[in-house]
Symmetry: C2
Subunit: 402 residues, 2 copies
Amino acid sequence: MSKVFQATASAPVNIACIKYWGKRDTKLILPTNSSLSVTLSQDHLRSTTTSRADPSFAEDTLWLNGKLDEIKPGGRLATCISEMKRLRKELEDADPNAEKFSHWRVHICSHNNFPTAAGLASSASGFAALVYSLAKLYQLPASPKELSLIARQGSGSACRSLLGGFVAWREGAAADGSDSFAEQIASEADWPAMHALVCVVSDDKKDTSSTAGMQRTVETSALFSQRLTVVPERMRAITNAIQNRDFDTFAAITMKDSNQFHAVALDTDPPIFYMNDVSRAIITVVTEYNRVALEKCGQRKAAYTFDAGPNAVIYAPRENMKEIIELIVSYFPQESFNDPFQLFGSAPVQGRLMDGFNEGVSKRFAIGAVKTLIHTCVGDGPRVRGDAESLLGHDGLPKSLA
Amino acid sequence: MSKVFQATASAPVNIACIKYWGKRDTKLILPTNSSLSVTLSQDHLRSTTTSRADPSFAEDTLWLNGKLDEIKPGGRLATCISEMKRLRKELEDADPNAEKFSHWRVHICSHNNFPTAAGLASSASGFAALVYSLAKLYQLPASPKELSLIARQGSGSACRSLLGGFVAWREGAAADGSDSFAEQIASEADWPAMHALVCVVSDDKKDTSSTAGMQRTVETSALFSQRLTVVPERMRAITNAIQNRDFDTFAAITMKDSNQFHAVALDTDPPIFYMNDVSRAIITVVTEYNRVALEKCGQRKAAYTFDAGPNAVIYAPRENMKEIIELIVSYFPQESFNDPFQLFGSAPVQGRLMDGFNEGVSKRFAIGAVKTLIHTCVGDGPRVRGDAESLLGHDGLPKSLA
C-alpha cells in the first residue's frame, strides 16, 4: 500500500471590527486601509478542508460543500494553489531528501459547517482552510503570517482567518504586496471573555457582491477618501483597547466603524445597501441597551457590527450575553435556541428586558425575522484535523459523493 | 363696523436636491452648507395661513390644523412673529400716515392640505405661509429674499418656500445671518416640464427629529467635514444643469446628494436612519429604470431624493411621468390614484414595465407599502388668498372650531 499524501485542516470565521472595504490592487488584493477582526471559535463555525496530492490525479479539482467547483485559470483559487505548489517546490529544491510531489495534481474537498443560506461569509474561513491544509500537505515551515500573504490573494479577509484571537491585516505599502499580511495583536487567551452572538437575518433582496461593491465605492464615493484618513487612528485605538481589555472603547469604535463602512457604501453611485429594516432594528435595540448601561455603570455592554449583508454580530463580554440574548429574543422571537455555553439550563429562552430599557424603541418582529442566533466566542487559528475527519475517501473523491 | 386687519396667504412645499443638514448657528439657524430645492406646486400641496391683528386680542395665539399650538417665549414661532412686528414698527416709525397696529396681538390660523400622517415636512411651507401672511397683514414692502431671512429662523428650509421655481439657500458668512437667504436661480416658467411624484411610504419606526439629528451629525460624523468640501461644486453644477434644463446632470447630482446626506446620517453616533426597506426598493427600481434609459438614449429619466424620512420624491420631465407611475405601481400597487394631469384618462392605472427592464431587481410589495402617490410639478412662491379663504371667522377664532 502506497503512502497517501493528504492533510485535513479547519479554519475559523472572522468578523471585522475595523472594516476592509476597497482595494488599491485588485489582482494582488491589496487593501486601501488596514483592518482588524476577531476570530470566532471553530467549535461553532468553521470550514474544513482536505487536500491530497496524487500522481494518478488528472487535474486539480475542488469540491465545495459536496459540489464540484471550477478552478478558473488565473483565478483566485488557481493562484492560491499554484502559490502553495511553488513553496513546496522551493522546499524540494533546497532539500535533496524531500519527497518530490509538488508537480502532482491535487484534489481538494471543503465543507462549511454552517449553511450557505445563513448568509455568513464563508470565503474567509474557506480560503484559510484551503491554504492551511495545503501547507500541512506540503509540510511547509511557513508561519501563519507567511500563509496569510497567500490566503489574501484568495479572498482579502481570508488572511485574517490564519490566526486566532484578535488579528490586524496591515495594508502595507509594497507594490508586490509582501507587507500586506495578517498578524495577531492579542490571542484568544488574552481576552477569553470576548463572546459573540451572530444574528442571522432574513433577506429577500439581491446583494451587490463585496468584490464589485467595494471598487464602486473607491471609484464613486466622495466620502471614501475621508474614511481612509480616519482608519489609522481607529486601528491604534482599538488595538490599545483590546490589549487593555477595555470593552467600552472596543465597542464604541467597532460600532462607529461598521456604520462608517455602510455609510460609504450608501455614498456609492448607485448606492449599495447591505442592512435592512431588521438590521436597523437590531442597531436600535443595542443602542438603547448601551444607553441604559452607560447611565447605570458608565460602560457600553455590547457592540454590533455588520459585514456586507444584513446579519448582525453582537460582541459582548461573556457576563452580558445572557441578558443580550433575552433582549434580542424579546424583539426577534426564536423557535429554538442552541445554548452552547449553558446559560439557560434546561429552561427555554424567554425574552426579557433589563430595568430601565425603553421597550418602545423598536417594534417587535415576528418569528423568522432573525432566523437563528449563534452564540460563540473568540477562538484559535486553523487546526490540523486527524485522518478520521478527512473529507476524501480512499479513492481520492469526496466521501459525501460515495 | 371697524376695519379688519387680516391677510391670508398660502405657501408651497419645497424638496431639496442639495440637502440642508447641519447648522453652524443653532439659534439663528445658519447652515453649514448651501442647499438647493425645487418648489412644488401649491395646486397640490400647500400650507394656508390667516393672520389677524386686533386691539381686543389678549395674546398672540396660533392654531395649527385646528389645534391650539404653544408659542414658546424665545422659541421659533415667537421669533418669526416678533421679527415681523419689528418690521411693521419700522414702517410705522418711518411713515407718519401709516396705521399703528404693530403692538396689537395677533391670531394666526394655519392649515396644511396634506395629512400630517403623510410624513411630509410641513414646517417649511408652514413657516413660509406664516411669514408671508404677516407680511401682507403688515403691508410690508419686503422682498421674498428679505422675508426668507425671517422664515429661516422659524425652520431652516422654510426660507426656500418663499420663492417659486428653483431656489438656492446661500449659507452666507456673516455672524448675524444677514447673508444667509434664499434666492431663485430659475423660475417655474424656465423649466415647467419639471414634474415630481411624491411616494408616501409607511413607517413604523420612531424618527430622530431633523433638528436633533443634524447637530448629532455635525458633532460626531467623521465624514461630515468632507461633505462640506463637496457641496460647493455640486451647487455650481446643479445650478448650471437647471439653467440649461439638463435633466441628466440634474438627476445624477440630486441622487448622489440624497445618498450622501443619508450616508452622513448613518455615520452619526448613534446612527440615524431615515430610509427603510421600501425606500431602498424605490431606489433600486429607479436605478434600474435609469440603467435602461442610459442604455437606450444615454440619459437618465428620473431622480429620486429622500428627506429626513422614508418618503421618496421622484423628479422627472413630464414626458416620462406616465411610464414612471406605471413602474412604481408595478412594485408598489395602489388602491387608487389621483391623476391631476390626466395622464391615464378614465382607465385605472396599471403597473407596466418598460422594455428591457429587469423585473427581478426588487420584490413586489403589497398594497399599502407606498400609501399614496402624489403627482405634482414645479410651482410658484407664496400666494395671497382672498377673504373667502380666510381661516379665521368674524370673531377672530378659527372657523374650523365654530
